[in-house]
Amino acid sequence: MKLFNLNKLHHELDSLTFLQVCIGTIFLSIFLIAPLLLMTGQAFISKNGINLTWFTDLLGSPEYVSFQSRGGRFGEVYNGILYLWGFDYGILLNSLIVAAIVTLICSIIGVLVAFFVNRYNFFGKRIFQILLLVPLLATPFVNAYVIGKLFNPRGGLINYIFYDFLHILPWRIDIDGLFGIILAQVLSYYPIVYLNVSAALNNIDPSLEEMAENLGAKSLKLFRTITFPLIIPSLAAGAIITFIFSLEDLGATIGFIGARANPLAKKVVSYQVFSSFAEALTGGISPKVAALAVIILILTVSSYILVQKYVNIRNYTMLSKGGRWGSRVSVPSKHRQSFIFVFLLLLIIIASMPQIGTILLATTDWTTSGALPTKITGEYLTTLWTNQDVTRAITNSLVYSLIAVVIMVIVGSSIAYVVAKRNIPGKGILDLLATIPVAVPGITLAVGYFLLFGQYFRGSVLDPLKDPALLLIIAYSIRRLPFMIRSVHAGLQQIDKSLEESSFNLGAGRTTTFVKIILPLVIGHLISGALLGFVYSMAEVSTSVTLGALREDREPITFFISRIIYGVAAVGSVSIGASMCMLLMAVEIAAMTISNYILKQKVSYLGV
């Protein structure tokens, strides 16, 4: 029996497949597994050998875990100001609480919006569908900065309008700290749940719902008993991504600190890891930080794998998919229509505050003018090509992202092909490894890279202290690899294996077949994946502001923005940061448009 397997392996493992397996395995082993393992290892080592010292230290210290509030304000009115900051329960608990609340609120909003949009027809629906995606346009740091600015009790626009001008509010509102982070994250992340759930709602065979209605189930009951259970897997998929994004997010915390300098906004894990990099240049990274990163990593990876298992088992939304159909859409009563309309309108207005704010900051004198901008100016936008530091950061990011995309295409298409089309023992492991990066927070990866390549590759091109560029490129490509693989995999699954076999039969080897038959057939998916990978890389935050901080002339665009917002940059005004965010938004819009309308690929949403 053993012999047969070897025989089979011999047939399956031709040179192309061998090469592809090697590319995937080696790349993931060196740049994903090794750094994370080393980091985990170091977290377990202290002066007295292998033990849990760092972990017990962390978990035992009230600075990290505290069951009593260590400060902060929430719902307290003082001097005519309503403080909404949140309470400090220690860095680790804060992060978990923030992530849990963000996930919960995003889930509620996401499901509601998805349900409204996919089950009802109402006035302005088409426009809403587009505007609902505006938060996907990343404006790192500036988004939180804008929110902090709007809710500033001293001259914030919201307070100005609703307190000073309209007199609707009895007090001024001060949103900041952990609550501010929650607000900023909810506004950025609800589309993740919304898109996942939308896809599920579209995939439900309408006859399932019609059958239930036929049996007498009315709307709410129908939703509770049939529709909702069917979308749970997608909801779980979107929720876990939201959870992970929230845990690793640095944009909101840095943005709030930049806007308001409230130390409560620093009391999250991601900020602690980030600030440790500021000292890394001189002192290295302490095992305590590694331990912190390990705790987060274990949480994200294990919950991700659990959810993935659950989603795979319960993925029955497609079960009775027979032919094509339009999903079930009804026109609700006028009363309900107006409720939906107002709800979505408010959501869109609030959720696109960061994007609108970014544009205002970039094109007017709003940074310095107080509550309202007073004049339009192009001086900040022109820095995009006149200011040398700015152009250098932009060029750096462009180059990094382009190279990262090339790596993503090569590694991603290799892994996707092996997983989708070949029958190699152990390919399941490769598949799993390639999906794991979704669950690895960027800050964790940065710590792992710093430890591994800083210690064991000292002085080489991979040494982050010498030159972090290559590691940044690799980090970008690894972090977005799963999305590339998913995109190509989806394309590959539509290719019947007979299309390849007829090529073999006509005398073409596997490599020729891959190049002439497979690649042309998935080119749309490949380009679409590449475009998204490029956009994500340009806007990537976590590794950019950690590894990217290690050498000034190598800094990527997001690190540059973070420095401006954080206020440590001598380069100047927040408006320049906002201008750079506008550039990012433009790139994002272009990529999504090409992907959607020219390549006719659905923007591959983020999910399990």
Binding site: K8, H11, D496, S498
Partner: protein, 351 residues
């Protein structure tokens, strides 16, 4: 062209035996059909010949040369897939030219051969179209042209007609047969349609659950099925049980039918008896003992013939008659089965 030999081929997919001790010899230039019910392993055998699947055990020889371990691209077989497998991103011309490009023919030669091949399958002028712009029958022809153009030593056709409508199926059947005879190419044809197999093949191998049950010309298989499975799978007929009463007579419910047969049978042996619907003669027999007398229970008009169900004693048989014969329900009827048409099969329990 080549002859093909399969020696003791075994192939399992987990628990399922897709090929079980398969031995076949396919002559050079022969039109050979693999016939069997769905899932019996026909495609698997064909794919092993093409080199798209490898046997667990056994050898495959082309003209006596062992090709068992050769990958598909070295075997020079031309396989037409059940779903045609045309490449949607290439035009008809490009699809057909593919094999030639792989073989590094020059541009002019490729152009010439592609034109010829398209002509052969009556698709002249369609070269610039894309597969999605073609009807099912046209796609089928492109698939055929795509393999014919490389002059394959073996033509492999996996249920090539199953996606076509009934009329086109008959047309294409004729065309394929005609083309194959003209080119004299060794052809393996897979189908689960027994009528198609009988019409198109030089020889047929009937397969069931991975095993080859019988090999023979269409006539041999129709007239001398080896067992009940083959008898019921190919053609229609009534299966009855009987026992040998004396030499060349079989007792079916006390009717004594004469037969000729080369089974080793002795008096008292139980047998199964197959009577094809067209072999019942509506006349008095010359030999009185063959006489069957019954009552027409039902009459079904089918088109070319009329199907009768006749109750004879404790059993009933299905009989085809000319639609011109005027008969009535419940009419008494007398006839016989000529001794050459009484087909005896080794006894097995009927379900």
């Amino acid at each position: 062209m080549v002859n093909i030999k399969l020696k003791n081929i075994n192939k399992n997919f987990g628990e399922v035996a897709a090929a079980k001790s398969v031995n076949l010899f396919i002559e050079d230039g022969e039109f050979f059909t693999l016939l069997g019910p769905s899932g019996c392993g026909k495609t698997t055998i064909m794919r092993m010949i093409a080199g798209l699947e490898y046997p667990d055990e056994g050898t495959i020889l082309f003209d006596g040369k062992d090709v068992t371990k050769e990958p598909s691209f070295k075997r020079n077989t031309g396989m037409v897939f059940q779903n045609y497998a045309l490449w949607p991103h290439m035009s008809v011309e490009e699809n057909v030219a593919y094999g030639l490009k792989i073989r590094k023919f020059n541009e002019a030669e490729i152009k010439k051969r592609v034109t010829e091949a398209l002509e052969q399958v009556k698709l002249t002028g369609m070269g610039k179209r894309f597969p999605t712009q073609l009807s099912g029958g046209q796609q089928q022809r492109v698939a055929l042209a795509r393999v014919l153009v490389i002059n394959p030593s073996v033509l492999l056709l996996d249920e090539p007609l199953s996606n076509l409508d009934a009329k086109l199926r008959v047309e294409m059947r004729e065309e394929i047969k005609e083309l194959q005879k003209r080119l004299g190419i060794t052809t393996v044809y897979v189908t689960h349609d027994q009528e198609e197999a009988l019409i198109i093949s030089d020889r047929i191998a009937v397969q069931n659950k991975g095993e080859i049950k019988q090999i023979g010309t269409p006539l041999e298989i129709y007239d001398h099925p080896k067992d009940v499975f083959i008898a019921t799978f190919i053609g229609k007929g009534t299966l009855l049980q009987g026992s040998i009463s004396e030499k060349n007579k079989v007792n079916v419910d006390n009717y004594y039918l004469s037969y000729t047969n080369n089974l080793e049978l002795k008096e008292g042996d139980k047998v199964n008896v197959l009577i094809r619907p067209e072999s019942f003669v509506l006349n008095k027999p010359s030999e009185e003992s063959n006489r069957l007398e019954g009552i027409i229970e039902s009459i079904t008009f089918v088109g070319q013939y009329t199907e009768l169900k006749i109750v004879i004693g404790n059993f009933s048989i299905i009989v085809n008659t000319s639609p011109k014969t005027i008969l009535n329900k419940n009419e008494k009827i007398v006839g016989y089965v000529p001794y050459g048409n009484t087909i005896l099969l080794p006894y097995e329990e009927l379900v």
